[in-house]
């Protein structure tokens, strides 16, 4: 092959062309989200062919809603993972925040907005607690946040039952300020397709996450504390502060999501959010985040969430049993991790 090329053209030209081509390829391979883009195309293609209405605007509205539910959290969880830590309390935290919010505006008869601020502060506090526990004790965040997860789960159930005698709080729509807050966070637009406003928030949070990661000083620090904590400290990166800020961001976004759900449903269950923490991690990993930290992308996490949203809607739309959703997600996760590690190896080999 090399001989053919050499005889057909002057020797200098093909060498340059080949170099440029490898350069572009390795640039593409180096993007963490490239594997998830391939997966997205495959999953969309699958359901577009099996599920009627999936590829249309109505279908789009449905799966984008499911995707936003995961995606809003997948972005901060991805940033945290790139920073080398996990937050298993991220799912249950949305429940705690929703319950506190619902309690304040119903039993407390607060206006929605002061309650909103207090719940965000609550999110910041839980994140600070997670961050301090992880950075001061040096224990793995997997264990520390597993502790927070179960503590919050117990509090959610116990306190809700103690206060209401049931396992849910209703009547959020009677609160003052509810109408505008719902329009902002928990309603839909573009009738008759009815896209959820949450999708806009998800897109905004994804863009913000990608901007922070790729274009700010903080983003450089996040990659560094996850990639090599000691090296980062040696060159003056505030490792502890960066990690705590990541935990606080994750819990605060979880608090925001919990309130969005409460505003949309007008009520909240004590079990809200439990089990979803792993879906956020799946979305981040499908999107190219390394479990060991230091590598990943916010856009990738959003793509991962999109794949999961498509699966959640596509399976029943195709007339398949929805009970198999988790099986589907499990297979997607394994395939994505295999594909991502294959691509990373190719990128490492193709070093110009």
């Amino acid at each position: 092959m090399a001989q053919e090329a050499a005889s057909a053209t002057p020797p200098a030209a093909p060498a340059d062309e080949r170099l440029a081509r490898v350069g572009i390829l390795s640039h593409v391979f180096r993007r963490p989200e490239i594997g998830s883009l391939v997966g997205l195309a495959a999953v969309f293609g699958l359901f577009a062919s099996t599920a009627t209405g999936f590829a249309g605007l109505d279908g789009f509205a449905r799966w984008s809603d499911e995707a936003s539910n995961i995606g809003i959290m997948a972005v901060p969880v991805a940033l945290l993972m790139i920073g080398g830590e996990f937050d298993l309390s991220a799912g249950v935290m949305s429940g705690s925040a929703g319950l506190l919010f619902a309690y304040l505006v119903t039993h407390g008869a607060w206006n929605v907005w002061p309650a909103f601020v207090v719940v965000l502060l609550f999110g910041l506090t839980i994140g600070l607690l997670n961050g301090l526990l992880v950075t001061k004790t040096g224990l793995p965040s997997f264990i520390v946040t597993l502790g927070t997860f179960f503590s919050l789960e117990g509090i959610n159930l116990g306190l809700t039952q103690h206060v209401t005698g049931t396992v849910y709080i209703t009547g959020v729509d009677t609160a003052s300020g509810y109408g505008f807050a719902r329009r902002l966070f928990g309603s839909s637009f573009w009738s008759p397709h009815d896209f959820e406003t949450r999708v806009i928030w998800w897109i905004g949070i994804t863009i913000l996450g990608a901007w922070i990661l790729g274009r700010t000083r903080a983003g450089n620090w996040i990659f560094a504390v996850g990639g090599d904590k000691v090296a980062a400290r040696n060159v003056g990166v505030p490792v502890v502060r960066t990690k705590i800020a990541l935990f606080m961001t994750t819990s605060t976004v979880a608090a925001l999501l919990g309130m969005m759900i409460t505003l949309q449903l007008r009520s909240i269950q004590a079990g809200q959010g439990i089990g979803r923490e792993f879906e956020y991690i799946i979305a981040a990993v499908v999107g190219g985040c390394l479990l060991t930290g230091g590598y990943g992308s916010a856009i990738g996490a959003a793509i991962g969430a999109t794949i999961m949203g498509m699966a959640t809607i596509g399976i029943p739309f195709s007339g398949w049993n929805s009970n198999y959703r988790a099986l589907f997600l499990g297979i997607i996760l394994l395939l994505a991790v295999l594909l991502n590690s294959f691509i990373r190896n190719q990128a490492a080999k193709a070093k110009l």
Binding site: W211, G214, N220, F223, A224, V230, N234
Partner: protein, 267 residues
């Protein structure tokens, strides 16, 4: 003292840890554009001396002078502020991150104001490439992860970064110890490149074959004491090897090994 003070000087410094004498009565000096080699076997006191120079330890006796001013560094940060930078063996680079992200890690240039304040990535890429080129290493792609570079190139990133951020004294702690012959060659070229940019380099090693070709002065430590301090024209490479190994012992070892080599291998 001479009319122009040395860039860095230690004057009869000692350091004790409890009743262990880590370093006793060591004197040395370094000028801009010079390479000072500190030679010694394991446990000779090299690490203690580096830590005094880089601000980790304060000497118990003796003086540390920068530009002729006596210093008592409370931390490596203070030493860095006076232009004394240490490149450790682990190099303080993050393998998964690109060259330009590593180059400016912890001191990222920013542009824009308010919420639009951002990492000036264009400048960072250009500057990283340009300053690596000054070290004699042409990186065609600053987006390349540092982990895909060779050991010597990775070192060049760390050195170029230190020089860019105003290092006048560069302390290299055993930079060649874990490297093969070819990679060690890259490191020695890095040292000369830094020297040619007017940086004073302190090169810590236990390998006289690496030290002699690049060094201007040689300080030999043994069991915490200085057993030699020579300018290049006062000593040759063989003498350096002998001093390093404690003279007599090595001569004996050489005889022993020479004898062993003549033993015919069993069929």
């Amino acid at each position: 003292m001479s009319a122009t003070p040395h860039l860095l000087q230690v004057d009869d410094v000692s350091k004790y840890f409890g009743n262990v004498i880590a370093l006793k009565g060591v004197s040395a000096h370094l000028n801009a554009g010079e390479v000072l080699c500190i030679l010694g076997d394991n446990g000779a006191g090299k690490s203690t001396l580096i830590k005094i120079l880089s601000g980790v330890h304060v000497p118990d006796e003796g003086r540390l002078l920068v530009d002729g001013d006596e210093m008592r560094f409370a931390s490596p940060r203070e030493a860095r502020a006076r232009g004394i930078s240490t490149v450790y063996q682990d190099l303080a680079v993050v393998p998964l991150m690109s060259i330009w992200r590593n180059f400016f890690l912890g001191a990222e240039p920013e542009k824009g104001t308010g919420p639009l304040r951002r990492f000036d990535t264009g400048f960072a890429k250009r500057a990283a490439r340009e300053h690596m080129l000054k070290m004699g290493i042409d990186i065609r792609d600053p987006d390349q992860p540092v982990g895909t570079l060779s050991g010597g190139e990775r070192q060049a990133v760390a050195i170029a970064r230190a020089v860019y951020f105003g290092a006048r004294v560069l302390i290299l702690d055993e930079p060649t110890s874990a490297l093969g012959v070819k990679a060690a060659g890259v490191v020695l070229r890095n040292i000369l490149a830094a020297r040619d940019h007017g940086v004073g380099v302190i090169f810590i090693t236990h390998n006289p074959h690496h030290a002699y070709p690049v060094g201007d002065r040689f300080v030999i430590l043994n069991r915490g004491r200085m057993i030699g301090n020579y300018a290049k024209n006062e000593v040759d490479q063989d003498e350096l090897v002998r001093l390093m190994a404690g003279g007599q012992e090595l001569t004996e070892l050489q005889h022993e090994l020479a004898g062993a080599a003549h033993v015919p291998a069993p069929e």
